[in-house]
Symmetry: C2
Subunit: 738 residues, 2 copies
């Protein structure tokens, strides 16, 4: 499997248990995510202009009086270093507004938008210091200012890319009321907190075609992400054309790979949006698809086939043969010439060493060269690869495992393992990137990722070491996504990570994030992402031809309420599901961050802290029960889906019954044996949270907390809200075998 | 404007008025479409297996006892002339079933589906006579037989393409119940009625990128259409790369054109699906985009710009200069080499002659060459172009206007003008294609197109002339479609045209068509068409950020009830709306064939013929009134959309009030002055049918008919249902100035 971090990351959330490998239960993750939501100091809307729904939130934003009306006369002027890239960015921005408003903005007779150099007649003036270079670079100045008054908007930036970031902010500010379209008067001073803000997409385990990449680059630009990490080779697929070694794609891809022309198209598309592209070729492990066409590269005799399952596999390149380095010199040289970025990712994770240990010649090589063990051999391999890439002008990036005392300081470490690995690499003088905590493929709530800071206040790093923390990357591993579902697994949650990496560390109000995510989700949909569009067709297909309007209505509601189980759990439940399994289940229709569960968490919080009566939760239970009975009824005509729908409906009804019982217990002053009651309830809740069709009911974690409160009723004494909450969490989620 | 036929086509529907140019009112069109639905002899489900929802309906289909279970063991064998194209078609078919069912069908260890040559172990056996040629040809044998029993399915065809058509039938037969997935036992003998079954897409007026073309080719294959007519040049855009004359695309396309590599990709994609590609370069008129880069080709001095509006424009190639023919020899030769089909479309429509008449040199040329007039000059031009294309091995196709005594008999005529033009061309010995009546861009109901037969029973043609009727083509002109909406304007209605062109002429049961279209619509969505997926995102954007769940619910219902006005009317209402106007209005969210209106038409029919009491309509009016009040309420927070939503709500409420009043009048035996009452009602209905935001309430036509019945109450006497219906139609829709 790809580098998968421990699930329970060290969040800056006082009640979060320490990092721990996932057990068979997934409820704790939901709990962690939602619990963070509970423990935020401020649940009110953001103090900044409440009508502003920009993500990432700018560094400084000041409201002012008035508004800039947006009409068909909205004209743009560019002063300073006007370039084609900025013109194109302005055209895209205007087009998006035209599509929202139905307005037609001024055009030249020959067709293009009328962008002038005359600030006097323009509603939007953009002033640029200098044009950005053709290919975006790490550390470019992305800052901008945006001043909007009743008369005009003025966007200023030192560079093209800064102006592009400012344009995305402006785009998100458009609003309407009965008087028409407008942007509120305000003043923005903005710049990113980290210079490396990435999204990795694994196009290998499951193929993702050019259009998926392009629309996600549009989403990245909208969220001000600036690095597309292009994971191009894996055990399950080699996804790029090599002209020097064509058997790589011919034997290793099922015909599903990017031609070099398509790569150039993607590179240009990304650069146009101020996004760097860092290619990853994962070696020496995770390379099974390489050796299908070139078995002589492997550390054990072939033949090999493309891997169709998920996990960590044995095939690994042979680091003892000079032919391997000749091949890599040829191949990496070809790729280094294709990809303009100075960084080049060599993966390096999860080499299990099985083939090396089994090969006497390789073990002899280790001895001969005093490499100590397989790890030493891996470091030797990395030094050779680093030298090859340095020869092509590239700096190296790799996962935690490549960290080794002999690794040149220029090499960057991307940490999937966690804060400790990150700190160790920074202390060793390497630039570092955080991905632990940003594993969006896991389908955790946005809040979990949002509160995961690459550089938290208490990080044990010196000032110099802190400078080495370049940022982070969301990682979209692809075991459980198809081109149809991938957008819904990336967006809008990745915008929360984008905000963590762009906005000041103090911006951490989870409810306000969720409020703004609802808007940015629409903007992403308007930009072409399909996280909203994909759902209805997939639901129709899932529901089947016999579905009545009532069936569809019930399933729509169920899908809005439920959530997919975590990726790990899905793999654990179905370890042999192959690469080509169609992903069209109930769970694939569901969002990772269902709104009703978020609302319920807040309502429970109010009850736990005594801000609301337990009875306020009863309407929720009634609505679950009603939905459960409707789903149960329609399941009878749902053909092959009947079983899982019926089971999920039963669980929802049981959750409602448990909830009602807990509330009744909380509301009643005369109680029996609380512990016995609680122990009898727990297995019912455990049953209600069983996955069905890889879907689950996400409110169970809150019910567990509520049940703990019923059990501990009368025990609060003078505990503070925080201490009381911590106590309830310990009761609800006791640590096993500490 | 592109060749736009008279709207009121001569349908094989006894109550339809004769062909007539459209007036400002659009209700008659709706009426024609829905009236046909009323006048069908059989409103029950198809006599063929009622559970079968295949479109186009096969020539012969016989139900049998039993069913073939579809499980993960579903294996395929190909006997006879197995080729890569059939393998790919089988793989696509299996994949689509995997996506519906979640099953995983047998695969080889190397990845591809396990397709064997062993009939014994296969659940599906395909027997092929001979592999089809690489490029599909007119008149290929597309017949097949499909026999499904409890044990297996056997598909037999003389050719690859026949097997592909049969596979599409099989794909549509998949069903499910509580026992699992299955295909009912049955026996199909099938072949197309016409050999040329086309869809034309205009990629010029509004650009449509490669992915739009590809997914529509998938839709065509599903509906057994076999000709993609690729309309590649227009006043508003030149959409293909010429390497010989690059200024064509450089100056004429805004950068939006297909490279020759992309064209080759599309050609291969189409051929893989058994679809011919016939390119159209519309000359000598409709050529304004050509002369932006090459003004010397025009019949008046330039300079020219790309046209941004809709209509018929003056720029026309100069047929008097030899340089024009040298250019065409070069350009058409380049294109003839690129497109493999034997047919090549030269447009030829709507040359208004203005530049020719104004140019003394051109008029002198007409005299010198005894060409009589501009029309003679056009024929001269066509002869020259025909000679050029013949030199490149191509046969010519053109719109009605190219018909001329000197046109070689090999040239095919595509009739946009109507049955008379079609008959004239056939009588002159030309192969003919019908497009009149298949103008899907108009957004008429599917029933209108469905009942439009290229070769109706009474067609005034000899047996020899009838053989010249090759088929027809649906035409997707592009004034009012974007890549976002185009699928919803093509599908599922074009499947009705596909059935007209494929199935026997007797297959003409409109209600059964609509029943089956609902299923084929889902299959099309599963194949990647976006007519379902596009709606929710567009609605969200239209509704705006302030929309509440209640707003969205009301708008969803309104959008499901209303329909977009006809394309002509939209152009008439907004003649200056430019090419780049965003198409994101309420109307763009609506389907051309709303289901509630279809249901209402049938309910009204029952009342008109005395099969149901007038009061049975009252629940409809109540639901309209309820929806109107909800829309009215939410319109207040709909910002810039408030006006049109509020107006449409008012009209819907007025329609409900009128309906209730009519029903009351029908139900009451004591009546006052019927004529006066009717005259007072008419303007209210006229007001209620006014477009709002290019949308309309489609039930008004039925209300008019119902009002006529109230006016004529007691007058039926012994009129047959047909005669009574005809009488009411005359009352409801009197002809003006006959």
């Amino acid at each position: 499997m790809e580098p998968h971090p421990p699930l329970m990351v060290a969040l800056p959330c006082p009640s979060t248990p320490a990092a721990k490998r996932p057990g068979p239960s997934f409820c704790r993750i939901v709990f962690v995510g939602l619990a963070c939501l509970l423990t935020m100091p401020n649940r009110s809307l953001s103090a900044s202009a409440p009508s502003v729904a920009v993500v990432p939130l700018p560094a400084e934003i000041q409201s002012a009086e008035g508004r800039l009306e947006i009409t068909g006369k909205f004209a743009v002027a560019i002063l300073g270093a006007r370039d084609a890239r900025l013109d194109a960015a302005v055209a895209r921005a205007l087009r998006r507004w035209e599509e929202r408003t139905g307005l037609v903005f001024p055009r030249l007779p020959s067709g293009p938008y009328a962008i002038s150099g005359d600030a006097k007649t323009a509603a939007l003036t953009i002033e640029i210091g200098a044009a950005s270079p053709q290919w975006p670079r790490l550390g470019e100045d992305e800052s901008y200012t945006l001043d909007i008054s009743a008369g005009r908007a003025v966007l200023k930036a030192a560079t093209t890319v800064g102006a592009q970031r400012g344009l995305e902010t402006l785009l998100q500010l458009l609003q309407s009321d009965a008087q028409g379209w407008f942007v509120p008067a305000l003043s923005v001073r903005d710049h990113p907190r980290f210079p490396w803000r990435g999204l990795m997409i694994d196009v290998c385990r499951r193929w993702q075609p050019v259009e998926v990449i392009k629309r996600n680059l549009d989403g990245m630009a909208l969220a001000k992400l600036n690095v597309f990490h292009f994971h191009l080779s894996e055990d399950q697929g080699f996804r790029i054309e090599s002209k020097k070694y064509p058997r790589l794609q011919q034997y290793g891809s099922d015909g599903l790979y990017f031609t070099q022309d398509q790569i150039r198209e993607i590179l240009a598309y990304a650069a146009d949006r101020g996004i760097r592209v860092v290619p990853e070729f994962d070696i020496p492990g995770h390379a099974q698809s390489w050796v299908v066409g070139y078995p002589e590269l492997a550390s054990a005799p072939g033949p090999y086939v493309i891997e169709r399952n998920w996990g960590v596999f044995d095939p690994v390149l042979d680091p003892t043969k000079e032919e391997t380095y000749q091949f890599l010199e040829g191949f990496l040289g070809e790729m280094a010439a294709l990809f303009p970025d100075e960084y080049f990712h060599i993966g390096g994770d999860e080499n299990n060493g099985v083939q090396w240990s089994a090969n006497p010649r390789i073990q002899a090589f280790i001895k001969e060269h005093n490499l100590k063990d397989n790890e030493g051999l891996h470091a030797y391999f990395n030094r050779r690869v680093q030298a090859i890439l340095a020869g092509h002008g590239k700096k190296l990036v790799g996962w935690d495992e490549i960290l080794h005392p002999e690794l040149p300081k220029s090499a960057a470490i991307q940490s999937w393992r966690g804060a400790e690995g990150l700190a160790a690499a920074a202390r060793a003088g390497h630039p570092v990137l955080l991905s632990n905590g940003y594993y969006i493929d896991q389908l955790e709530p946005a809040s979990v990722h949002y509160l995961n800071d690459p550089l938290p206040a208490g990080a044990p790093l010196s000032a110099e070491e802190r400078k080495l923390v370049l940022g982070g990357e969301a990682t979209m591993w692809a075991e459980w996504v198809s081109p149809e579902t991938i957008d819904s697994r990336i967006w809008p949650r990745t915008a929360a990570i984008a905000e963590r990496l762009w906005s000041p560390s103090e911006v951490a109000d989870v409810p306000d994030l969720y409020r703004r995510l609802d808007y940015v989700s629409r903007r992403l949909s308007e930009a072409g992402l399909r996280h909203i569009a994909y759902r209805e067709p997939m639901l129709l297909r899932y529901a089947g031809d016999r579905a009545t309007p009532e069936t569809l209505a019930a399933l729509r509601e169920l899908i809005a309420l439920g959530k997919p189980i975590l990726c790990y759990t899905r793999t654990q439940l179905s370890p042999r599901d192959p690469q080509y399994l169609a992903l069209t289940t109930l769970a694939d229709c569901m969002a990772p961050d269902p709104q009703p569960a978020r609302v319920f968490v807040l309502a429970v919080e109010d009850v736990l802290l005594g801000h609301a009566a337990p009875a306020t939760l009863e309407p929720s239970f009634a609505s679950w029960r009603s939905l459960a009975s409707r789903v149960k009824a329609v399941a009878q005509n749902a053909g092959p889906r009947a079983g899982e729908l019926s089971a999920l409906a039963d669980q929802l009804a049981e959750a409602a019954d448990c909830g009602a019982e807990i509330v009744a217990r909380l509301a009643s002053s005369s109680q029996g044996d609380q512990a016995a009651w609680y122990d009898a309830l727990k297995p019912r809740l455990a049953k209600a949270e069983q996955p069905q069709g890889y879907a689950e009911i996400p409110m169970i974690a809150s019910l567990r907390l509520l049940a703990a409160a019923a059990r501990e009723q009368g025990q609060r004494g003078d505990l503070t809200p925080e201490a009381w909450r911590a106590h309830l969490q310990t009761v609800a989620f006791p640590k096993k075998n500490p």
